[in-house]
Amino acid sequence: MKNYIFIAFLFPLSVFSQEKVTGKITDNINNKEVSLAGANVYWLNTQVGTVTDFDGNFEIAYKPEYKKMVISFVGYKTDTISVNSPKRITHSLTSTANLDEVTVTARQKATSRSFIQATNVLNVSSEELLKAACCNLAESFETNPSIDVNFSDAISGTRQIKMLGLTSPYILITTENVPSIRGASQAYGLSFIPGTWVESIQITKGAGSVTNGFESIAGQINAELQKPTLDDKLFVNAYGAGNGRFELNTHLNTKVTDRWSTGLYIHGNMRDTEFDKNDDSFLDAPLMQQVNVMNRWQYTDTENGYVGFFNVRFLNDEKQTGQIGFDEKKDRGTTNAWGSEINTQRFDLSGKFGFVNPDIPWRTGGLQLAYSHHNQESFFGLNDYNIEHNSLYANFLYNSIISDSRHKIKTGVSATYDGYEELVLTENFSRIENSVGAFFEYNFDNLGDLNFTAGIRGDIHNRLGAFITPRFHLRYTPWEKSAFRISAGRGKRSANIFTENQQLFATSRDLKILGNGGEIYGLNPEIAWNYGASYMQGFNLFGRRGDVTFDFYRTDFKNQIVVDWENPSEINFYNLDGESFSNNYQLEFNYNPFTHFDVRLAYKYYDVETTYLSGKKQNPLTPNHRFFANASFQTHQTQKGGNWKFDATFNYLGEQRFSGSENYLNTIGLSEFSPSVSTLNAQITKVFSSNFEIYVGGENITNVKQPNPIVGSDTPFGTTFDTTYVYGPIFGSSYYAGLRYRIN
């Protein structure tokens, strides 16, 4: 380049006669101009270029054949702009400095799995989330074969998710990398995050990263919420379903100052129609109402490399269920009618603050702070259950490199506080849990066929003791379009036995803790190792792309709080004595047979066994075989951005073991195994323009129903009453319709 400038000096006359483009390059700091010195400016596909001076100004020769000007600078996005006359231009560059750990800003296309990352992460975009319109985070995994969604019981309408054959307490669920659905919100927390608030989801199979704590065992699910600067200025989603459910979501986003943006997110849902289609005198789905309001503030200062998020959220959720005609005022505490109410109030406050060193883009740091107050008051027949949970979380993270960008490091410290006031029937289980810890993670990337992440953290916990959590992930690419991954890691947690198993209160079972004087309910902490291997191969078949993935994951419990449902009149909690494991094999196939048509097929085999007092058994209500199929198609977009979208999901669940002896199961009209179940969901979306779309859909179109989901429904205060023998849908087919309106 210098040579050309030199040449230009040798021929001053020609320079003089030439036409010129002059201009100024600035840093894009919210429309405020900050000169960028030393930026490169040159014509695309030529050797003609220059560098901006200290005031960001430049001057470059112009010829009519030059069409595109390239402007680049280290640490900024390279821009190519069209210039077709000799004029003065001013252009701003955008900093590429972003904080991966603190904010994920990239918008992904549908579901994707990386060939490059060391961890087995599945990215689910907002586009994928729209495929099943309904309605909260628990319901947004319908089109995803890695997560299983089941009803936890026949009355509360709660959807429980499973990963690698293990229930949600073994999955670390975070919102924007802050652990969020844990403790008291474990059972219903997923229904407290409205689907429209979610921008994208990252699902990590197997041991997660040490940066988010020690609790994850089977995997991690992270939900990124909508960002005020990226979300629509106005977004409205209205939804109504034949099962009596209505939802309204409104987002309002606005820019307050150059650096501050804010968003107000309002969600309301309700169901006030009583249904008892199976005539068992119990509501098929609870009556409910939820008001959920969040206010986000986003701060961006690219000049100095600071970003921040501040959230306030308030939630009120009320569910009422039980026998038709149950009146809380008259019937609560009596045996006139069986009823249940679950009322939750929640208040959340969280902040995130991140910095990037503008000169040294790899030096970034972030601080996450979160406080939540959760109060659930509930009764299930004559059983009262109240839990109040105050939680504090702080995590500081620092990223850098060792010698060069192939060796990345992350380190930080974290602290947690959880105060529980828990009243189970008449017994008080109040307690405080807290921990402090430090972590270090090293990532090596040879920029080719190998990368790995090795992390370790040490924590001191008032009830779990002092312990080390190691985690390891490796990716190796033996040949083109392939990725071989292995992972291993340890997880440790204190089981919240009651809140994680709230369905037990809607039974006539006696609660028994067979403790040994341990620190949590007289029990020991749960410890598990998770090992995984995965192989992914991309291919081209008939000129179309596809990929096939085979996974194997094993979770091995060193200690577990066994939840023993085997005795029909009791539920027992005790420390594992013997083996408990979950083996999970998954084969997944993705193919794009023709443009805009995607097919995803998955087969899963689960072998989940636990040693109970009565011997080693397959875990109840966990099918060995599962099959999943999803097909989606969309038509070409019109000029206005309109099109049609079609989506259908099929789920097959093999037979599931019911807990209890064969004799007992016969007396309540069940056999040892449930029949297999298949369900089909479908949705059609008509997009009129980028502003407006409507959708209609059906859940469980083939109208599959479990007959008599409530055992002993005719004598709800009798000895056989049990709402937990649920293996399939309770409500038959249900159709819904809705609209989405947005102003950008």
Partner: protein, 121 residues
């Protein structure tokens, strides 16, 4: 007196050391045509001692570097890239090395350039 010279020279070295930027930024031009070239160029850069970050752009042929001036200089980095088979603004790759790179990366061949422009890679 010897001590004084030593101190002064240490101070001087210290001062020059201070003047050298541990995180110097530079952008140079490197020829190449595709994603494979990108991998090779970035790898060659980062493997040169003292280079901390290297990002090459397929379209603009610009290599953005951050490197430690104490440990290396642009000429050394460019040599390392040229040794991997890519021409840089100041150093051309030797023909023997160039001939060894993948046929799809032959950036000196007009035919290959045109192929890539038509969206080959």
């Amino acid at each position: 007196m010897k001590k004084a010279i030593l101190i002064i020279s240490v101070l001087f070295i210290g001062a020059t050391g201070f003047a050298q930027n541990k995180n110097a930024k530079a952008t140079i031009e490197v020829d190449g045509v595709c994603g494979m070239c990108k991998d090779r160029i970035e790898k060659a850069s980062i493997q040169a001692k003292g280079v901390k970050s290297a990002i090459w752009n397929v379209e603009t042929h610009q290599l953005n570097l951050i490197y430690n001036e104490k440990k290396t200089d642009l000429a050394t980095i460019q040599q390392s890239i040229a040794d991997s088979g890519h021409d840089t603004q100041d150093i051309a790759a030797k023909d023997e090395v160039y001939n060894q790179i993948d046929p799809c990366c032959k950036y000196r061949d007009q035919q290959v350039i045109d192929d890539h422009k038509q969206g080959g890679h």
